[in-house]
Amino acid sequence: MSTAAVHSLWTTAADPITKIPAPKIEYGQLSPTLIVLGAALVGVLIEAFLPRKSRYYAQVFVSVVALCAAFAAVVGLASDGYGTTKAHIAAMGAIAVDGPSLFLQGTILLAGLVGLFTFAERRLDPAAHGNRVDSFAAQAASVPGSDSEKAAVKAGFTTTEVFPLLLFAIAGMLVFPSANDLLTLFVALEVFSLPLYLMCALARRKRLMSQEAAVKYFLLGAFASAFTLFGIALLYGYAGSVSYARIAQVVDGTITNIDPALANTMGNDALLLLGSALIVMGLLFKVGAVPFHMWTPDVYQGAPTPVTGFMAAATKVAAFGALLRLLYVVLPGMRWDWRPVMWAVAIITMLGGAIVAITQTDIKRLLAYSSIAHAGFILAGVIATSKDGVSSVLFYLAGYSFVTIGAFAVVTLVRDAGGEATHLSKWAGLGRRSPLVAAVFAVFLLAFAGIPLTSGFAGKFAVFKAAADGGAAPLVVVGVISSAIAAFFYIRVIVLMFFSEPKPEGPTVAVPSPLTMAAIAVGVAVTLVLGVAPQYFLDLASQAGVFVR
């Protein structure tokens, strides 16, 4: 860099800025996020001002209304054509309002709503001192087993803060897949991650594990976001901007007016490759791809099960949305660089998740590994780099998220004296005791396994088809093989539930309130509808399959 150039920079920067244009914000198009964020703030206020007794109802009410309203807003935007013809970049280039954003936002909102139902469930545990309790600690700050905890339980404290936390997380997730510059991406990442870290620590039972999960999730998550941030810095260094469109232009080499002062760093491919690899790594951490998956089983096991369900579904949707946008909007110009790498990641993710799951003995860990394997399948669709690839991933995510929440909701029902009985040996003979619950869980497992007539099959078929169309036939073969391996452990659970003799002092199945029932019912309904008559949703996904640049 020449001194003259530097000097000119200094002088430019030293000039007083006379006119800062007011940003133009399309509030209407951002309304889903804004509604949720607003509701979250209202939730905070509720915590501050309402009496303890009425907080629960108020929070649930506000949350449900907000999520419904936000979903309505998404539907309204989509029907106005924002997903297709009127798709554009809003909020001064920070947020993209287009098909994939709207589709994923809708999915996240519905998943959040269903997840909320499981958060609000208060009938599973026996009432403590006459107070109904949910899955969350009475007072998170009290030390487990201490007198203060007992006092908190006795006083009927509940951590109703989870509802605003949930809303904040959802708001972050809504922004994440529609972020159109790297800064927004990073902020959204933190906005949805931080509440999740907290919620992980809030379990009522097994608090040690819960806290451990939170610590692990937090440290590793922060570690990963540091990498992401560094990647963002490098990409910024490469392109001189954090805007997706601008970076894409630089990558493509189509940028018109290059400031000569930037010539030195701009277009430095090392920066591009390093930066994009680190950002992708951060996203792969969130979707739980091997080798960035190791937090998944521990956190899934330790977190309160409703949180696990929500996290497993919604985080994956948001993270895959962001990954898609990054790869399809920012980095299509270098797909010959990232495709082989992603191939490798997809393969080890599919195989690794499936293989390690075989020997799991805890149902929540098992589902965690299963979610890793599924991340691999979805990655296969991501790699397709075609419009079909996008829509197949969207469809897969929609189907998968409801199955996941439903499955974890069922997990909350099977309880013994220590709370949820998550060890697989306790699930023996469940089919005898409560055929209906076992059958429902079997449906979810079959959907995970990708048996025809379930959403799992339709999704897997869509993803593999897109991958094969995109020239990734070997990936399909690996996918098929790992599906076979995965089938083994799903079936093992079914065997256990239906064909093993029930243990005499086995767990009981709690009768849930309509909230959890609704969550499970929605899961089953979506599973079957997307399995038997997926065309409407495939249409939706394929209309939504185009990113705006």
Binding site: M1, L9, T12, A13, A140, A141, V143, P144, L183, F186, V187, E190, L194, Y197, L198, A201, R207, L208, M209, Q211, E212, A213, A214, V215, K216, F218, L219, A222, F223, A226, F227, L229, F230, I232, A233, L234, Y236, G237, G240, S241, V242, D259, A261, L262, N264, T265, M266, P297, D298, Q301, G302, R365
Partner: protein
Amino acid sequence: MNPVNYLYLAALLFTIGATGVLIRRNAIVVFMCIELMLNACNLAFVTFSRMHGNLDGQIIAFFTMVVAAAEVVVGLAIIVSLFRTRHSASVDDASLMKL
């Protein structure tokens, strides 16, 4: 001085931070190392901002600080509650869940 050197410094700090995460046991120290990594990023942003001659990088650095602060709030809360339960802040002690 050539601003590229700041980049090298940033990379160095980032690596030190990452190494600290990998080798230190105390959760607080680990967390501090992560903060170090974030600040390394900030340095890189500011440097690039200087090199590119636009202010985006500097603004981002502010955002990063805010985010880091938020992380501190959440992180310390979690770590402190763990410490109060276990009377230990060692991340290695928190290994109930494995395999």
